[in-house]
């Protein structure tokens, strides 16, 4: 291995820059999971009876399930009795009405993460809901959005203020019985974001949720629900980080999206949970179910994700293309370094006629990490004239990492056109040397090559986010790439 590659290796194993903890008093419940715990969470959140029943049903179903093992991931048995299922910063037991009432420690935490909650300080154009451990601590720009009839608030708030909407849509895209982690989340979900765009409304700003795990030994189980009525449009951003800890933390979230006739939802994620150290100690286990339903004709749901964090990633943002002429898109950059493992991809379920989907997945593996793409394109019998295009590219840095592709195609309609392309390449010594000969040092060379590799996906991110994501890629690669 050349010196450059070694340098890259070392850099990849850099310190995680968001690894600090916030010293704040937290209201936690004892470790462990039981019906009583589910009841306690529901009570703490002052929930209506129907929701408690819904949670209990999910919990009972979860008890009948086993943790899935089919992914290309290695991890020890998770002891679900050793996790804290509810942790809330004490000051926000009752969500403050104004930011002046938010604990300054919390504000500082988010300032440090680069998220200013003071609206006047923020760049205009992004409203943000921030969730720390199990609860939302603040949501900005709510009143401006309300003028257009847009609801953007924490899930807890939505349950209190808009119970009918929540009840109507919760679990309609990801049923509580969907899978092991979905059932678990349905039983114990604590907070998350709720977003409702009424008919014909174009959301005038980006909506954003920022998730932060702080409490030790706690799991984070947030739930996000986005409903875009006919003709509505919204672009949604999600970011996340966690402190550096030696124990693994569990994150099992659900995101549900519904798009009506001619509605469009763009969902972008920059996932940067703590990845653990270079030997695989600590880090977040990220088991997430994300799914969108294009229920109306000409509707469109687009997932864009930049995944650089987590010790383990298990995540397949999917689209059910039910409405005729609906469109599903999945753009992904997954970067794994150190001992990280990612098994991520998408599912495109074509049900309506003339539906189209596009999958662009870019996996970058460094260190001794394992990076897998797993995707399903399903064409139902009645889905006439379906089109799908998938492209899965892998880039390897060094010779100890792995890249894997598991594409599944199921077509029950012979008018469907399904295309799949895949490539695997390595950053070669030749490429590095070429860049160096032009005056770029190894680190800049790798950043340039990786940026080029991920370009098609990055171009899909909203401007502000793209810059952040590009920086994140470069930082994540520091010391791991030569």
């Amino acid at each position: 291995m050349s010196d450059e590659m070694q340098l890259l290796e070392e850099r990849v194993n850099r310190e995680y820059e968001f690894g600090f903890t916030t010293d704040i008093e937290t209201d936690t419940i004892p470790k462990g999971l039981s019906e009583d715990v589910v009841r306690l969470i529901s009570k703490k959140k002052n929930e209506p009876e129907w929701l408690l029943e819904w949670r209990l049903k999910a919990f009972r179903h979860w008890q009948t399930l086993k943790m899935p093992k089919w992914a290309h991931l290695k991890y020890p048995e998770i002891d679900f009795q050793d996790i804290i299922y509810y942790a809330a910063p004490k000051t926000s037991k009752v969500k403050p009405d104004s930011l002046d009432e938010v604990d300054p420690e919390l504000l500082k935490t988010f300032e440090k993460l680069g998220i200013s909650l003071k609206e006047q300080k923020r760049l205009t154009g992004v409203a943000v809901d921030v969730v720390m451990d199990s609860v939302s601590v603040a949501t900005t720009f709510q009143s401006q959005l309300a003028e257009k009839g847009i609801i953007f608030c924490s899930m807890s708030e939505a349950i209190q203020k808009h119970p009918d909407l929540v009840r109507k849509y919760l679990g309609t895209v990801v049923p509580m019985t969907d899978n092991f982690f979905a059932a678990l989340n349905s039983a114990v979900f604590s907070d998350g974001s709720f977003c409702y765009i009424p008919k014909g409304v174009r959301c005038p700003m980006e909506l954003s949720t920022y998730f932060r795990i702080n409490q030790e030994n706690s799991g984070q189980f947030e739930r996000t629900l986005i409903v875009a009525e006919d003709g509505a449009y919204v672009s949604y951003l999600e970011g996340c980080t966690a402190p550096r800890r030696d124990e693994n933390q569990l994150h099992a979230a659900i995101v549900e999206i519904l798009a009506g006739d001619e509605a469009e939802v763009k969902y972008s994620t920059v996932q940067n949970w703590y990845p653990g150290d270079e030997n695989g100690v600590g880090g977040v286990y990220n088991f997430v179910t994300k799914r969108g339903l294009c229920r109306g004709h000409h509707s469109k749901i687009s997932w864009t994700q930049v995944e650089t964090g987590s010790a383990i990633t298990w995540k397949y943002p999917s689209v059910i293309l039910k409405g005729d002429y609906s469109i599903g898109e999945f753009y992904s950059v997954a970067l794994t370094t150190g001992a990280q493992q990612a098994d991520t991809g998408t599912k495109m379920q074509h049900i309506g006629k003339n539906t189209r989907s596009r999958i662009v997945s870019k996996g970058i593996s460094a260190g001794k990490s394992q990076n897998s793409y797993r995707g399903l394109v399903h064409v139902a019998k009645g889905a006439e004239n379906t089109r799908n295009f998938s492209q899965c590219d892998s880039l390897l840095l060094g010779d100890k990492c792995g890249a894997h592709t598991f594409p599944y195609i199921e077509s029950r309609n012979n008018t469907a056109i399904v295309e799949h392309e895949a490539t695997t390449s390595k950053i070669g010594e030749d490429q590095l040397f070429y860049c160096e000969q032009r005056g770029l040092d190894a680190e800049k060379a790798v950043a340039l090559i990786v940026t080029g590799f991920a370009k098609e996906v990055m171009n899909n991110l909203p401007m502000e986010f793209a810059v952040e994501a590009q920086k994140l890629l470069a930082v994540s690669l520091e010391g791991s790439v030569g």
């Binding site: 050349s2 070669g428 000969q437 005056g439 770029l440 340039l448 090559i449 370009k455």
Partner: protein, 254 residues
């Protein structure tokens, strides 16, 4: 500008250069010729700083600095440019962005501000015209899907933009048809000036017809065995390398 003294270099334990010495002054064009395996490309790699090559003996002075102590990127920023025999492809990075990054790194090294967008584009346009490079190539991924001729012209184009003190053309003529050869030679000739030295590594006379080198050196078995003016290249073309081998034999037995 460049003074190579008694360089020994090996790769994977095998010695390729065995005491090579060469002096190149600013403004001069030197051609290095020699049979396959004589060490021509090794010389290019050693000058550019490819780390697979280990220099076991000798010194190389480049504009008053010891070249061997500089990293490849420092050498580049000091003004050493290698036109690669096999330019690599970098998907997703346009030629424009690549050359911009390179140029700004060099300017930073020289204590200059990055070039503003308008001046940069003007510079690109001017140099692209010189190499008859289609503008669409500049927005395409670097070397991806370029023809052999386009790749070589792109190398000379980068040289033109980066304005080096010393350029090494490593078999730039290989794989070029006659038109591409003419364009490349024209580009190089335009950039020939008093402050720019050029080392042309080649197998054949034909590029030298266009470039008219000041000196021609024959490299054999890791050493320069014969030097002369441009007429030496013609002689080689006519007689092959064998006559030099014979000459060497004679001088050994004499």
């Amino acid at each position: 500008m460049l003074s190579i003294k008694n360089i020994h270099a090996s790769i994977e334990g095998k010695e390729i250069l065995k005491g090579l010495s060469l002096d190149v002054k600013a403004g001069e064009v030197h051609a290095i010729m020699g049979p396959n395996g004589s060490g021509k490309s090794t010389l290019a790699s050693v000058l550019a700083g490819r780390e697979e090559y280990e220099v076991t003996e000798g010194t190389i002075d480049f504009g008053g600095k010891e070249l061997l102590e500089l990293s490849p990127e420092e050498r580049a920023k000091e003004g050493l440019f290698l036109a690669f025999q096999y330019p690599v492809e970098i998907p997703g990075v346009s030629t424009t962005n690549f050359i911009k990054a390179a140029l700004n790194e060099k300017r930073k090294y020289q204590g200059l501000e990055p070039l503003d967008a308008a001046s940069f584009l003007k510079l690109l346009k001017e140099k692209a015209a010189l190499l008859e490079l289609d503008k669409s190539l500049l927005s395409r991924s670097l070397n991806e899907g370029f023809s052999g001729g386009e790749k070589k012209r792109n190398e000379i184009f980068q040289m033109a933009v980066l304005d080096p003190k010393l350029t090494i053309l490593d078999e730039t003529d290989s794989g070029l048809d006659i038109d591409a050869l003419r364009i490349v030679a024209k580009g190089v000739n335009t950039l020939r000036n008093e402050s720019h030295a050029i080392i042309v590594i080649t197998h054949y006379q034909r590029l030298l017809n266009y470039l008219q080198p000041d000196f021609v050196h024959v490299l054999m078995n890791g050493r320069i065995v014969k030097s002369g003016g441009k007429e030496l290249a013609l002689e080689l073309e006519e007689k092959g390398y064998d006559f030099i081998k014979e000459e060497m034999q004679e001088s050994l037995t004499a």
